[in-house]
Symmetry: C2
Subunit: 190 residues, 2 copies
């Protein structure tokens, strides 16, 4: 749990390593802490409220999205849950096998699949969400309500920046260069 000190130390060390090249320290610290906090929060929630139900963080998020938004098309659920369509297929399969989620074909458009909670799923969320929210309050308990709002606001601006300008930025960086296919991934048949 060196967190605090070590990040600051690391900043200096990195700067020294680069020998004169300036480092955007505030930005580096912000990004490092975003990721660190996300891991810590996820880990705490998985090992407190989710562990007992044998649900992963992602599984819970998917349930939460469907619970809150009601029966939805899978692409919207994936978008909202922050995972790829391919991942959602697997997660949904898992949740379905646990009897919490139900998949239905769209009545008029045969390409679409709708995800909805089963009665068990509804009951589950009614029971577990309050406990989840309680732990959200626990992890943020060193911040006032106003500070939480400020934090959320800053993070929201980061998300907006990436969502609104990220794609353009990545195009610029590659600048026409081949987008370098991933090492993993499905190969063309043949």
């Amino acid at each position: 749990m060196p967190s605090q000190r070590s990040i600051r130390q690391a900043e200096s060390l990195a700067e020294a390593k680069l020998g004169g090249i300036p480092v955007r320290r505030e930005q580096m610290a912000a990004v490092a802490n975003i990721y660190r906090a996300a891991s810590a929060v996820r880990q705490h929630l998985e090992n407190s409220v989710l562990r007992g139900s044998d649900l992963t963080w992602t599984g819970f998020v998917v349930l939460w999205v469907v619970w809150v938004w009601g029966e939805s098309e899978t692409r919207h659920v994936a978008e909202e849950a922050g995972i790829s369509k391919g991942t959602l297929t697997g997660v949904a399969r898992t949740l379905e096998s646990r009897g919490l989620l139900r998949r239905t074909g769209h009545p008029s458009d045969g390409r679409l699949v709708l995800l909805g909670l089963t009665d068990d799923g509804e009951a589950f969320m009614r029971e577990v969400f309050p406990a989840f929210n309680e732990e959200e309050a626990f992890v943020t308990s060193r911040l006032s309500d106003a500070e939480c709002r400020g934090l959320a606001d800053g993070l929201r601006r980061v998300v907006q920046q990436v969502e609104e300008e990220g794609e353009e930025r990545r195009r610029t960086l590659l600048n026409g260069a081949a987008p370098t296919p991933r090492r993993s991934g499905r190969r063309a048949r043949g």
Copy 2:
């Protein structure tokens, strides 16, 4: 992109769903945005600077830790990188096979393994870190330096809360109950 609006809507929807049970909205929004921002940032960095080198986020973080801290024992690297020892074994193997990382037995304690960068690894970091840092600046470009500091500070307090009181908290929540083994995981030989 729904991000902004949808989180706020979701708060109301969740509250309605619960029918009167109060929701800690600020805390919920803060946690939701932490995770959302972490995903967005990771995705942007993987698809901009890391993709070309065929490195994953985690792989880069491990390299970064070893680069900044110098040759280190694996448990410290895992801790600092925010991954489990088991995961580190695999990631280190991958990085070693790419010729960026080197593993050495500890001279006096045969249980320990030291991780260090190869010359290629050093050169790689000298070249790629500036680009990485540049993108860290990009994703936070809607925040002033002071706002970055404030953001990092708030996140640091979240991390500290979990690190310093999380374990105790989880014990309290379970309250003696069996810690519910994970569904996955290695089974006893039998």
